[in-house]
């Protein structure tokens, strides 16, 4: 994402919106992760929390949405400057569950069935892609051959 941000988002060529599509059958912790990210988003810290959550997943710091995972996410929140109590309240009261459900409905309407998934100017692209693939597609859309 850093290259995409630098070359396309910061230059006004791309607008990126992120939606949740927690695959709870195979990733039971994904719902709590989405809640944590959205609770940070409401405080303007979505990107920092997203980075923390992804890094934590890679390091197996959280997994199944347990109380331990809530503690882990709370530690991430504190690390990015959020207040633990209000963050935990936001997560445990499912404050953004309606948003997540709306995101899931949107995904299913589009035909998303796995993550990550991307819709680029209406074109659905499933699976993680290297930066070069994004750049190629975006460049064609900006300057068609």
């Amino acid at each position: 994402m850093p290259q995409l941000t630098k070359n396309y988002i910061d230059t006004g060529k791309v607008y990126l919106e992120v939606y949740d599509y927690p695959l709870m059958q195979i990733h039971p912790g994904a719902l709590m992760a989405a809640q944590a990210a959205n609770c940070a988003a409401e405080r303007g810290q979505y990107l920092l929390m997203r980075n923390q959550i992804f890094a934590g997943a890679a390091n197996k710091e959280w997994n199944e949405g347990s109380l331990d995972d809530l503690s882990t996410f709370s530690n991430y929140a504190v690390a990015i400057g959020l207040e633990r109590g209000s963050f935990e309240s936001c997560v445990t009261t499912n404050r953004h569950l309606a948003q997540i459900k709306a995101d899931i409905a949107r995904a299913e309407q589009i035909g998303v069935s796995s993550t990550p998934a991307f819709v680029i100017n209406g074109r659905l692209m499933l699976g993680a892609q290297p930066y070069e693939e994004f750049a190629r597609i975006i460049d064609v859309m900006i300057s068609p051959p």
Partner: protein, 61 residues
């Protein structure tokens, strides 16, 4: 218009404005406004008028 009605109207307008401008905006019933409907969208990056729009769907794992 009765003075009481004027105050009630002013209070309502203030409340609605406060809900809409707060960082974690809420509806009058206390439900949070969907993040994706807030302006700016806190889960979005870049210029909304950019020629290429990407929607990313994630589950963080």
């Amino acid at each position: 218009m009765h003075i009481r009605h004027v105050w009630a109207l002013l209070f309502t307008l203030f409340w609605v404005a406060a809900c809409g401008l707060a960082p974690n905006a809420a509806t009058p019933l206390g439900e949070p406004v969907l993040l994706s409907e807030q302006v700016p969208n806190p889960r979005a990056f870049g210029d909304p008028n950019a020629p290429v729009k990407i929607s990313e769907f994630t589950d963080f794992q």
